[in-house]
Amino acid sequence: MGKAFDPDEIARSLSTLDVHDYGDVLQCMRCGLCLPTCPTYRTDGLETQSPRGRVALIKAVIDGKMKASEEFVEHIYHCLDCRNCQTVCPAGVKAGELVLEARYRIEENRAQPLIKKFLLNYAILDQKRLAKLLAPLKIYQISGLQALVRKYDILKLVSDDLRFMEALTPKLPSRPLSEEISEEIPALGTERGRVGFFLGCAMNLIFADTSRATIENLTRVGFRVIVPKEIQCCGAPNIAEGERKIYREMAENTIRIFADRRVDYVVTDCAACGLELKTYREIFRKNPTFTGKAEEFSNKVRDVSEFLDSVWTPDIKLGPVPEIVCFHDPCHLRHGQKLTYPQRNLLNRIPQLDYRELPDEGQCCGSAGIYNITHRNRSMKILQSKIEAIEKTKAQAVISSNPGCLMQLAYGATHWNKGWNVVHISEVLNRSLRAGEKTG
C-alpha cells in the first residue's frame, strides 16, 4: 500500500532536497529573464506557468508559507523540463532541476498508481519486457487493422486520447535492434578506438533503423562499437515522474556494464538518454562510495553529434545531399547538454545541404517525454509554434536527434499537412557517408 497524499510530509521532505539545497532556491532573484523563453509562459502568459513562479512556489512550500496542495503538485507537473530557463538564467538558477527534485519529494509522499509502478519500477528494467508490451501494437500495424482503423477513423468513437496516441506512434520495426545486431561491430578501416553505444529504449524499440545508421556511421569513421544488450533504461522517465530509487539502481547497473566493457567513450543517439547519462555524476554526488565511478562514467558520455564532430578528420568523405534542411534542437541537447555547435558543424560539412537556422532560439516542440499525452492541449499549442518556425525556413526536411521530438514533429508534419520529412541526424549523415564512399 502506498501512502496517502500528505502535504505536510511533502513540505518537510522538500526542505532537504536530493541533489540541490535551499541556497539554490534562494539564488533566484526573480528578475524574470526566464519568462520569455519558457514554453508554458509563452502559451499561457501566467506567472504560475513560469520558471520564476515555480521556484517561488517551491520556496513558499519550503518556507511554510504555502501548503503542498494538489494545486501545487499540478503546477510542478506543468513544466516540460526543457531547461531553456537554465540556459538563459544569468544567476545560474536550475529551475528545471528544482522542479524535478520537487516531483521526487512529492512522489515519495503519495500513493503511486499501479500502472505507473508497473512501468517505472518493472517494465523499464528490461528492454525485452518493453518489446513484449509493444508486440500487440506491431501486430495491429502489420495486420492491416491499422489501415482499417485509420480509414474509418474508428478511434474517434472510442477515445480522442487513444486516437491521438495512435496517430503519434510511428511504424514499428519488425524486431528491436538489440535482437538483430551483434554485440561488437568492428571499425571499417583502421580502428581509432572503442566506443560503447548506449541503445536507448525508444531508439531500440521504435527507431531501430536510425540507431543502426548511427552505429554504421561510428564504424565508418573508424570506431569499434560495443553494444551491451543487457542495458536498462537510462532512467529519464523515472526522473521526470519523480522516481529515484529504481533510477539509481538502473544507473549503477549501466555504469558497471560500461566499466566492464572498457570503452573509451559512451555514445548515444538519443538526446534525452545523453543528458540523463551525463547527469549521473550529479545524482550520485552525495553518495561517497559511488560518486567517483559515476563521475568517470559521465565524463565518457557523448551525444552522437558531439562525438562525431570531435573525432572528425578531413579525410572522411561525404557525398552530396541536395536538400533544404533545418535542425530542431532537442531541449535535452541544447539546454540540457548545452550543445549547439556539433550538430551544425556536421550538417554544414555535407555538400549541397542547405542548412537553415530555425528562428525560435531553441524552443521546445512540446513532446517532452509523455507531456504531449498528459498535457495535450498545451503541447499542441507549443508544437504549432514550432511548425510555424519551421515553415519560415522553407525546409524540405526537419532534422533532430531525439526520439520524442521525432515523433512529435512527424505528427505535426502530418497533422498540418506539411509534407516535409522528419529525420534523425544519423540518417542524413549515413546517406552522405554512403554517397561519399561511392564517389570515392
Partner: protein
C-alpha cells in the same frame, strides 16, 4: 474590504480572466525587488479597455485597492500589492496598434514587450531608444509607469522623453486622454509628462503613443579595460567634458565582470578592476570623429587596453553581457540587493570611492555596475537573507550611500522608481514641503488611496 470578492469578479469578467487560487496569489505577490512580497486577493488579466474599466468600477464600489502589473520585473516593488486587493495584469493587451512611419510615432497597448517594439520599429529603419536591462520581458506600460531608463539614456533620454500621449483610466473607471501626436503641444498642463513615472498611483494606461527617431546609420563599440575603477570613472567625466555624448557609456567593476564572465563566457579579462563599454552611433563621419575623442579620453586616464568590436555580433555580445549584469551578480550569493543612485557626472569618481569605502567598513561584498555616462550607478550587495546581521550592515551601508548621493546633488533613484523600496528615503531627499505637495496631487486623483497604495509614500498603518 471583503476578501472573497473573486467569484463576483469572475461573474463580471468571465472566469478565465480572474485568478485567485493559493498558488496564483503567491505568484503575483512579488516582482524583481528583493525581500519584498505581499499577496493580492485576486488577479485580473485585462484583455481590453472594457476589462480595465469594469475592474476599476468594481473596485470603487467595493473599496478595494488596485495594483497594476506588467511582467513584474520592477526593482522598487512598484507592482507588489502591499495592501492586497486586485492585481491588474496588462500583459494580454499586447498589440502594436500602429507604426506611423510618416510621422514617426508608434501607438501601443500597455502589455507590448519592450524588445518586441524595438524589433518591430527597427524593421522599418526607425528607432525607439529606451532600453532598460529587462527589455526582453518588461512591458511598455511598466516602462512608462516607472519612467524606465536604460543603456542609451545619456544620449537619447529615457522613456518619458518619448511619451507623446496616454489614454489613462482613473481610479473610478473613467477614461481621459492626454497629449497628441504633435511634436509641439502646450495646451494646458502637461499631464502626459506628469503621468509618466507615477508608478501606478494615479491611473492605469490603456493606450500609449511613443515618439520614434530615425535608426542610427552606424555605430562603433569600444571596450576599455582599467586597473583602477577611479580611472574608469574619470574617463567618463573626461569624455563628457570634451563635449562628446556617446550613445552608451557603461561601467562594470571587477566583481561584476567576473560574475558576467561566469555566465556569458565571452572572454572578458578577469584580472581587470573595471571596464567601460562605450558606443558612439550616428552618421559615419560623426562617429569617426567621436571615436577619436573617446580614444584620447581613455588614454589620458590610464586605460590598460582599448578594444574595438570587430563585428555586430561582437558588439551585441558585449551589450547582452552588460544587460545580464544584475542577474549575473545573483550567481555569487543567494540574495542580491541593488540600488539605483544617480549623481552628476563629475561626482562619479567620488561616489565610486565612497562605495568602495563603505563596502570595506561594513565588511560586505558590493559589485557596482551602471550607466556611468548618465551618472546612474547600481551598487549591488551580494548577501544572504538568512544572515540577519549582514543584512543589517547592508542597510547601514546603503544609508551612507544614499546620503552621499543626495549631498553630491544626486538622487536616490535614477530609473527604478521610488516604490516601496525607497519611500523611506524620499522625504530626506525632497523635503517635507515637496512630500506634502505630492500627497495633495495624489489625493486629487485618488482621494481614498486605492491605486497602488504604499508606493512613493509609505503606508500609514
Amino acid at each position: 474590504m471583503n476578501k472573497t470578492f473573486a467569484p463576483r469578479l469572475e461573474e463580471l469578467l468571465g472566469s478565465e480572466k480572474v485568478l485567485s487560487s493559493e498558488s496564483e496569489l503567491l505568484c503575483y505577490s512579488y516582482d524583481a525587488t528583493p525581500l519584498t512580497s505581499f499577496k493580492p486577493d485576486a488577479i485580473v488579466r485585462a484583455y481590453n479597455e472594457e476589462d480595465i474599466q469594469k475592474v476599476l468600477e468594481f473596485a470603487t464600489q467595493e473599496n478595494i485597492p488596485v495594483t497594476t502589473r506588467g511582467s513584474g520585473t520592477g526593482l522598487s516593488g512598484g507592482s507588489i500589492p502591499v495592501n492586497g486587493g486586485i492585481v491588474l495584469v496588462t500583459t494580454a493587451m499586447n498589440k502594436i496598434i500602429e507604426i506611423d512611419s510618416e510621422d514617426l510615432s508608434v501607438t501601443v497597448e500597455p502589455g507590448v514587450i519592450t524588445a518586441n517594439l524595438h524589433s518591430a520599429v527597427e524593421a522599418l529603419d526607425l528607432f525607439y531608444p529606451p532600453d532598460p536591462g529587462s527589455m526582453k520581458i518588461s512591458t511598455i506600460g511598466g516602462n512608462v509607469a516607472e519612467n524606465a531608463g536604460g543603456l542609451r539614456g545619456l544620449k537619447y533620454g529615457i522613456t518619458g522623453d518619448y511619451v507623446m500621449s496616454l489614454d489613462t483610466f482613473l481610479v473610478d473607471g473613467s477614461k481621459v486622454k492626454y497629449g497628441t501626436k504633435c511634436v509641439k503641444d502646450v495646451a494646458g498642463y502637461n499631464m502626459t509628462k506628469f503621468l509618466v513615472g507615477t508608478e501606478g498611483t494615479i491611473g492605469v494606461f490603456s493606450k500609449i503613443v511613443l515618439k520614434l527617431v530615425p535608426k542610427p546609420k552606424t555605430k562603433k563599440t569600444f571596450l576599455a579595460l582599467y586597473d583602477d575603477v577611479i580611472d574608469a570613472a574619470r574617463t567618463v567625466s573626461t569624455i563628457i567634458s570634451r563635449k562628446v555624448i556617446p550613445s552608451t557609456l557603461e561601467l562594470m567593476d571587477q566583481v561584476t565582470i567576473n560574475c558576467v564572465e561566469d555566465y556569458s563566457q565571452i572572454g572578458l579579462p578577469r584580472d581587470v578592476v573595471a571596464l567601460l563599454l562605450i558606443e558612439a552611433d550616428g552618421h559615419p563621419a560623426v562617429v569617426a570623429e567621436e571615436a577619436n575623442v573617446i580614444e584620447e579620453a581613455c588614454k589620458a586616464n590610464n586605460v590598460r587596453t582599448l578594444k574595438i568590436a570587430k563585428s555586430k555580433q561582437e558588439s551585441d555580445e558585449l551589450f547582452t553581457a552588460r544587460r545580464m549584469a544584475l542577474s549575473a551578480l545573483a550567481r555569487a550569493k543567494p540574495t542580491t540587493i541593488l540600488e539605483d543612485i544617480t549623481v552628476p557626472r563629475p561626482a562619479i569618481p567620488e561616489m565610486m570611492a565612497l562605495i568602495r569605502e563603505v563596502a570595506g567598513k561594513f565588511n560586505i561584498l558590493i559589485g557596482t555596475f551602471g550607466h556611468a555616462g548618465d551618472g546612474n550607478l547600481h551598487p549591488t550587495c551580494l548577501t544572504d537573507e538568512r544572515d540577519l546581521d549582514e543584512i543589517d550592515r547592508v542597510h547601514q551601508a546603503y544609508e551612507i550611500i544614499f546620503d552621499k548621493a543626495i549631498s553630491l546633488g544626486g538622487t536616490i533613484s535614477g530609473e527604478h522608481g521610488t516604490g516601496v523600496a525607497k519611500s523611506k528615503y524620499l522625504p530626506r531627499m525632497v523635503g517635507p514641503k515637496a512630500i506634502e505637495l505630492m500627497r495633495k496631487i495624489k489625493a486629487c486623483f485618488d482621494p481614498t488611496g486605492r491605486l497602488n497604495p504604499g508606493k512613493i509614500f509609505p503606508l500609514e498603518r
